[in-house]
């Protein structure tokens, strides 16, 4: 009976307190690549632990592992079956959310791309660049397997010099090359898979910030930190009403401050983060696998 309890506790810790603590820390911003992996590991481990808790609970209620006979007249077996069914429902819900987000995102992006193609003019500066005749400063990418677009508004072009524009384009191309949209899609799907009362924005929010930092790092490696930092400040645009903003620093401020600081060597920190991510995934997997393996061994011997 101890395994399901431990797994349930792990699932709860990984959905609530752990993300909250991690989101308040500053160190993940120093190793964005490892931090994205850690967030993915936390999310995946939370799901695995929750599923594992269900499976392990149903096992321990049904009696000794290795007793495959299902007895419909036994109340214990019925409860165990119900728990297993609920666990399966969670899996179905998860796949449903992934599919829905994937379809929805692609449909919306396609519509957006169709609009961009008739409203914005191509520019030969980089492949797929479209210039939109809008005053609002705007630069973003539309990811796709083929024919991705980078959209820049005239308002943005007016505010940027050549070096800054180059940095912005490098940043957007980094998003496209690394398919950061797929990373965010996973977090969005997970976000939607959880019932409204347990899910929080923290993981998705952090993932968004971290992929921006990754694209920033790519642009910094290509052109140095200055053009990108200047571009960020130039495009930060009209101040938003104070009330509309959270108390925390916006990611724009974080990004510029990060560019202003020299890039340190964080090999140790990133290694530790990767190890933590791996450990998080291994613990629930082994705990789920252990009773099943024991059952098989029992059955064979």
């Amino acid at each position: 009976m101890i395994t399901p309890v431990l797994l349930a506790v792990l699932a709860l810790v990984l959905t609530g307190p752990a993300p909250a603590v991690l989101a308040r820390s500053n160190w993940p911003y120093r190793v964005p690549r490892a931090a994205v992996i850690l967030w993915q590991a936390i999310a995946l481990a939370a799901v695995l632990a929750a599923l594992g808790a269900g499976i392990a609970l149903s096992y321990s209620i049904a009696g000794r592992p290795g007793e495959p006979r299902f007895n419909p007249s036994s109340a214990r077996d019925l409860v165990a079956a119900a728990i297993l069914a609920m666990t399966a429902l969670v899996v179905v819900r998860l796949f449903w959310a992934v599919g829905r987000v994937a379809v929805g995102t692609r449909a919306r992006r396609k519509r957006h791309r169709d609009l961009v193609d008739v409203l914005a003019t191509p520019d030969g500066l980089i492949p797929g660049l479209r210039v939109l005749a809008e005053e609002t400063p705007l630069a973003y990418c539309l990811p796709a397997l083929r024919g991705a677009r980078v959209v820049v508004s005239v308002g943005a072009l007016d505010r940027l010099d050549d070096g800054e524009l180059k940095a912005v384009l490098a940043h957007e191309q980094a998003h496209l090359r690394a398919r950061h949209d797929l990373v965010l899609e996973e977090f969005t799907a997970l976000h939607h898979a959880f019932p409204r009362w347990v899910r929080s924005d923290v993981a998705l929010e952090q993932a968004r910030t971290l992929v921006e930092l990754l694209a920033d790092d790519d642009a910094r490696r290509r052109n140095g930190p200055r053009p990108l930092a200047r571009a960020l400040v130039a495009l930060a645009g009209a101040p938003a009403p104070e009330a509309a903003l959270a108390a925390a620093k916006s990611s724009t401020v974080l990004r510029v401050e990060r560019l202003a600081a020299p890039a340190p060597n964080e090999r140790l920190l990133s290694s530790c983060t990767y190890v933590a991510a791996a450990a998080l995934l291994i613990i629930p997997t082994i705990t789920i696998a252990a009773p099943i393996v024991t059952a098989i061994v029992d059955a064979v011997s």
Partner: protein
């Protein structure tokens, strides 16, 4: 790393470019146009097959950017919405940071408060100072 940066001229996308030109004709026209009318207006400036214009209008209809109606034996096409309206749709989608639509696009920067604007300027001047001393 440099090899990843393909700064080569974009592969010709004649249909994509034509879509834009055709939409511009439709937006400028006071009434729905036949394929022949669009073809006549466009062939003033470039060599263009009638069937190409037909294809483009058909593609635009499939993308729900044009609407068509029967007029005798011919189809008449009109823009599904005024240019300004589509541009507004596009901007709304690009700027919408709420809920579901937020992750559709990765925006380059967000909005900042006055206080944060000051922080930004400070960080930038620090960077400039580094550059000069280094």
């Amino acid at each position: 790393m440099a090899s990843e940066e393909k700064v080569q001229p974009q592969a010709p996308r004649p249909l994509g470019d034509l879509e834009r030109l055709v939409m511009e004709q439709l937006w400028a026209a006071p009434a729905a146009l036949t394929v022949r009318e669009v073809h006549e207006q466009l062939s003033g400036t470039r060599e263009l097959a009638y069937t190409t214009v037909m294809t483009v209008l058909d593609r635009l209809a499939k993308k729900k950017l044009t609407e068509r109606e029967r007029d005798g034996k011919a189809w008449r096409y009109r823009a599904a919405a005024p240019r300004e309206e589509l541009a507004a749709d596009l901007m709304r989608d690009a700027l919408d940071r709420a809920g579901d639509r937020r992750e559709a696009l990765v925006r380059f920067v967000g909005q900042v408060s006055d206080e944060e604007a000051a922080l930004l300027r400070e960080a930038l001047s620090r960077l400039d100072a580094q550059e000069q001393s280094g």
